[in-house]
């Protein structure tokens, strides 16, 4: 075969298949990618700098905007780091509510992923369904927190307020509906020959390299490695929940999709368990006047599991009203930059957005 000339292509930042505002620069020979580099920074808002100018509670408005599709893990991780430095206790009921909120956030993010993953392979019907159904979950969030996307619901020391009246019934009803719908999504996506053929054997992460490359979350579990913050370091009420962490062999898009398929159902199951087992009592420990609230000097590292993988916060306090440093390691940082650059080599151009969606790349989390 004659060697074709190498061409450089810029996919993004304005491209319908890209997962947000970022750019992938690929070198191609014919249809095959020979080199890829991910360019980020289009969404850099200097959050970590701005947090140094906000006090401990004001930071929450900024924190939830770190990753738009799934803001709650950011709030929880920061709250947990602050609680660890300060030694603040969380009431038992708040732990259950937090776990439930986290799983609701995961579930609505899975629904968005269904839309992205199917849309990038041309199956637009599923996108219409799952993104439409996601609104029912956002309605639950609205009842609970007052906001559709950004909630600012989880605080250091608990959650902002108790469940509203009738929430449990509504939530259970929504869960029943979504569980029913998930079966229909499966028929459209996983029983679809187009998706099977496009997903199997594409975008392979070698399982012996996965940990070393820094892969986290569903892509790592798609390599057959059982790693999940929820079981490695159980936080909140996860140790009281009964759930499985699925793993699949192969490391390709198909395996990652299968992991997410099971996890979406596990989320529903955890939400039901949390609503069922939730004890009565207080939902927050009172925090002092936020304008004068000082946190003792110290450092803490907290992490939680989001849809895309582990989210870690390194919080440093110097004893004043303002955080000294809040460093965020989003799951997409390695998954979306170095790992994506590596697995894109040798793939087809048409699969770029397919692979990006399966890795759960979320640009605002990378550049912050």
């Amino acid at each position: 075969m004659a060697r074709e000339k190498e061409t450089t292509l810029y996919i993004g930042p304005q491209h319908p298949g890209i997962t947000g505002n970022m750019m992938v620069k690929v070198k191609v020979q014919g249809d095959t990618i020979t080199n890829a580099s991910v360019h980020v920074g289009y969404l850099h808002r200097a959050f970590e700098k701005l947090i140094e100018r906000r006090n401990w509670l004001q930071s929450f408005t900024i924190l939830c905007r770190f990753c738009v599709p799934e803001p709650d893990p950011m709030e929880l991780t920061y709250a947990r780091a602050v609680e660890e430095i300060e030694g603040r206790e969380v009431p038992e009921r708040a732990k259950y509510i937090r776990t439930m909120v986290m799983e609701m956030a995961r579930l609505q993010s899975f629904m968005l992923w269904y839309g992205g993953q199917s849309g990038s392979s041309g199956l637009y019907t599923l996108g219409q369904w799952s993104v439409g159904d996601r609104n029912y979950l956002l309605d639950l969030f609205e009842d609970l927190t007052g906001g559709r996307i950004y909630h600012m619901y989880i605080w250091p020391g608990g959650v902002r307020r108790d469940l509203p009246k009738g929430f449990k019934d509504k939530a259970l009803k929504t869960m029943d509906y979504i569980e029913k719908r998930l079966d229909e999504y499966d028929k459209l996506l996983f029983d679809n020959v187009i998706f099977q053929k496009r997903a199997q054997g594409v975008g392979i992460i070698p399982s012996d390299k996965a940990i070393e490359w820094g892969v986290v979350g569903a892509p790592l579990r798609g390599c057959g490695i059982k790693a999940d913050v929820r079981i490695d370091e159980p936080y909140e009420a996860y140790d009281k929940a009964d759930f499985i962490v699925p793993t699949f062999e192969g490391g390709d898009i198909w395996a990652r999709a299968q992991v997410r398929r099971i996890e979406a159902r596990q989320s529903i199951s955890i939400i039901r368990q949390m609503l069922d087992k939730m004890p009565e009592g207080e939902v927050y420990n009172k925090v002092p006047n936020p304008m004068k609230w000082k946190i003792p000097a110290g450092e803490a590292w907290a992490k939680t599991e989001s849809v895309r993988g582990e989210v870690g916060f390194y919080v440093v306090s110097d004893g004043s009203e303002y955080p000294r440093r809040v460093h965020v390691k989003g799951a997409a940082y390695t998954n979306g930059v170095t790992v994506t650059e590596k697995i894109l080599v040798g793939q087809n151009i048409a699969d770029v957005s397919f692979i990006l969606n399966s890795m759960g790349v979320c640009p605002p989390e990378i550049e912050r």
């Binding site: 980020v40 920074g41 490359w213 390691k329 790992v339």
Partner: protein
């Protein structure tokens, strides 16, 4: 309790004479000089199974004139997190490069180079990672004043400076009346 953590700390103490402590369960921290950090990281990666580099954090202690670097590594077998901490001079800030140990450290270090101005000898990759055409001091340094820069560079919308009520302007536009109770917040 804390046996795994103590054991890890003892191994590291005997191998490198580092200072360190067990913070709580699943968290161990050690402190060393910057020259020793690559050796420690290579040892924990190859021999102790700490294969996952979470991130590299930089904290600017402007008052001391130091940068504190924290390398967070995680072991998927022990489920332990180890922090390797070091302090380096702020000016000039030079730190040994570790992207031959972990490939993903390349992007972390490029970010630190851009945001804090820390040089990593031998680091390859574009100078620009997140910012574009930046010609001021590295922005995450604490002596960089972001509000001053923003005021100088960008336009401000009138009304932002005193956060007063802007209902008057809006009512002029839409032709509705200001309610009596709201008049005391008005601009004039």
């Amino acid at each position: 309790m804390l046996e795994k953590e103590q054991k890890l700390l003892e191994i590291l103490k005997s191998a490198f004479q580092v200072e360190g402590k067990v913070i709580r369960n699943r968290r161990v921290e050690i402190w060393d000089h910057k020259e020793m950090v690559p050796a420690i990281l290579l040892m924990v990666k190859t021999q102790l199974g700490y294969k996952h580099l979470n991130h590299i954090t930089c904290i600017d202690w402007l008052e001391e004139g130091k940068f504190q670097l924290v390398y967070t590594v995680f072991s998927h077998t022990d489920k332990l997190t180890l922090f390797v901490k070091t302090k380096i001079d702020r000016d000039p800030a030079i730190m040994p490069n570790i992207d031959d140990i972990w490939d993903q450290a390349n992007t972390y270090e490029r970010e630190l180079r851009e945001m804090y101005g820390i040089e990593f000898p031998g680091l390859v990759g574009d100078q620009e990672f997140i910012l574009e055409d930046w010609d001021e001091m590295p922005p995450m340094r604490r002596d960089f004043k972001t509000d001053v820069y923003a005021e100088k560079t960008f336009f401000a919308q009138p009304g932002r400076e005193d956060a007063q009520d802007v209902r008057e302007t809006i009512t002029k536009r839409s032709g509705e009346e200001i309610p009596e109770f709201a008049k005391k917040y008005s601009r004039d």
